[in-house]
């Protein structure tokens, strides 16, 4: 039987899952734990399936939280890549060092029990994880999770006052939970994953704020931005080789005289690389001091039937790419690996 605290916690996790995931994701999880999964709606799913299964110890609250971590920590994010020397990374992610800093900051409890916050007043570190599977070796990575509350606005109505010559526009706003992740691995790769914004394309300030938030644990000096310029170009120039792996939607290029070229497929479902004329125009532009500034493609996830494709954008800052759709940890990892491999 769950304790009162565990029950309260499971409800918080459930509410967060409800905001982030589809019922199918939760039902697949229940199926993997051999728990009946039929339910007419979200509430029934919790009352009739999840809560009884937790009480019967078919899975633990911790496993339920891991589901939330997987769902909300991958996809619908913009990723920014940095690199430092591996020796520096290993020193930074040392468990002794991290524990000491966490104690100084009053965050040491997060090393064992993450905080399950819904809409914090200020950006808050809710989880600090050191992946250290073999204690005879150096840790693999350090992950810090930050939750913040964002406001999203949607246009509601406008009022025209003819007498005063004034139009008043009204927007409704809603508070939204945003999850940002910083992961430094032992090779020196620092990855900042920032939840996608609803109304803005620039992430410069969010990156700065995240770096400030984690600076005690991961000081930023010694890190260089990884320019993804080469990957952007290779995705296009190697398109014949990549035909089975990538579907092309649109690309933006700019030459050193400032001219801009944009090519888009007729719709997101089409593949631009099969349009010889468009591609020839782009090749010609790139051959004369042109550079790919943005590429919008679909990465085909291997061994999926029907074929699953994950949307990938590489544009914005030099070290930025985005997976703007929900995905699993494995799918995200595949796409990130593809971007890094293409950048070599």
């Amino acid at each position: 039987m769950l304790s009162k605290e565990e029950k309260k916690l499971s409800l918080v996790i459930f509410k967060l899952l409800k905001e982030t995931a589809s019922q199918l994701v939760v039902k697949n999880f229940l199926e993997s734990k051999r728990v009946p999964k039929s339910a007419a709606n979200w509430d029934e799913l919790y009352e009739k399936r999840i809560l009884p299964a937790l009480n019967q110890k078919k899975f633990t609250v911790n496993e339920f939280r891991q589901l939330l971590q997987q769902v909300e920590e991958f996809g619908r994010q913009h990723t920014f890549l940095f690199q430092c020397d591996p020796a520096r990374a290993i020193a930074i992610i040392s468990p002794t060092r991290i524990k000491k800093i966490a104690q100084q900051e009053g965050l040491d409890s997060l090393l064992t029990t993450p905080l399950d916050l819904e809409l914090p007043e200020a950006a808050t570190i809710v989880d600090i994880r050191i992946l250290h599977p073999d204690h005879n070796k150096t840790p693999v990575s350090l992950t810090i999770k930050i939750v913040e509350t964002r406001i999203t606005k949607t246009f509601d109505s406008e009022l025209i006052d003819h007498a005063k010559g004034v139009i008043t526009k009204k927007w409704k706003f809603a508070k939204k939970r945003a999850v940002n992740i910083a992961t430094l691995d032992h090779t020196g790769l620092l990855e900042l994953r920032i939840a996608s914004q609803d109304n803005q394309t620039k992430y410069t300030n969010l990156v700065k704020e995240l770096l400030i938030k984690i600076r005690k644990f991961i000081p930023h000096d010694g890190f260089n931005m990884i320019s993804l310029n080469y990957a952007k170009s290779r995705i296009l120039t190697d398109r014949i080789l990549l035909a089975d792996e990538i579907r092309y939607s649109n690309s933006t290029a700019r030459n050193d005289l400032g001219a801009v070229m944009q090519i888009s497929s007729s719709s997101q479902e089409d593949n631009l690389s099969s349009d010889d004329g468009s591609m020839a125009a782009l090749d010609s532009f790139l051959a004369s001091d042109g550079h790919v500034t943005g590429t919008n493609v679909y990465v085909k996830i291997p061994d999926t039937k029907p074929q699953r494709e994950l949307h990938l954008l590489i544009s914005g800052e030099v070290n930025e790419f985005a997976v703007p759709v929900a995905c699993s940890a494995g799918e995200y990892s595949y796409v990130r690996g593809k971007v890094i491999a293409l950048n070599k």
Partner: protein, 127 residues
């Protein structure tokens, strides 16, 4: 011509000499291949980052500052429209609140979303 203009800067800023040398090589190569087209070079911060392999935004800012103070490049601000075209302004303070998008023939609000810095070479011609 422009590549040579960077030589004093390379000597004056030994800490940034390598990055400045890359910029000089880029300009020298461009000029040798495309001649007078070099006067029309227009680079955004991302391109400058890649050319000089700046590594970080703070270092890029320092390098750009050296190049601007050394009168190699000059900053302009471009309001970029969805078509890819743009309208150039001398500085951020010159930006209007609203601007006409000539490609779509509509007024567009100037915001952080549609402006970008752009760098051109400083030439000595009388304007």
């Amino acid at each position: 011509m422009f590549a040579e203009k960077l030589l004093p800067l390379i000597s004056s800023f030994p800490q940034d000499a390598e990055a400045l040398r890359r910029m000089a090589e880029y300009l020298g190569d461009f000029e040798s291949r495309r001649g007078p087209a070099v006067f029309k070079i227009r680079l955004n911060p991302n391109r400058l980052f890649d050319i000089m392999q700046a590594g970080s935004t703070s270092r890029l800012a320092r390098l750009v500052s050296i190049l601007v103070e050394g009168e190699i490049i000059r900053r302009e601000v471009v309001v970029r429209f969805p078509s890819g075209s743009g309208i150039t302004f001398e500085s951020y303070s010159d930006l209007p609140f609203l601007i006409r998008d000539p490609d779509r023939d509509i007024d567009v609000r100037v915001t952080e979303e549609n402006i970008e810095a752009s760098y051109i070479l400083v030439t000595n011609e009388v304007s």
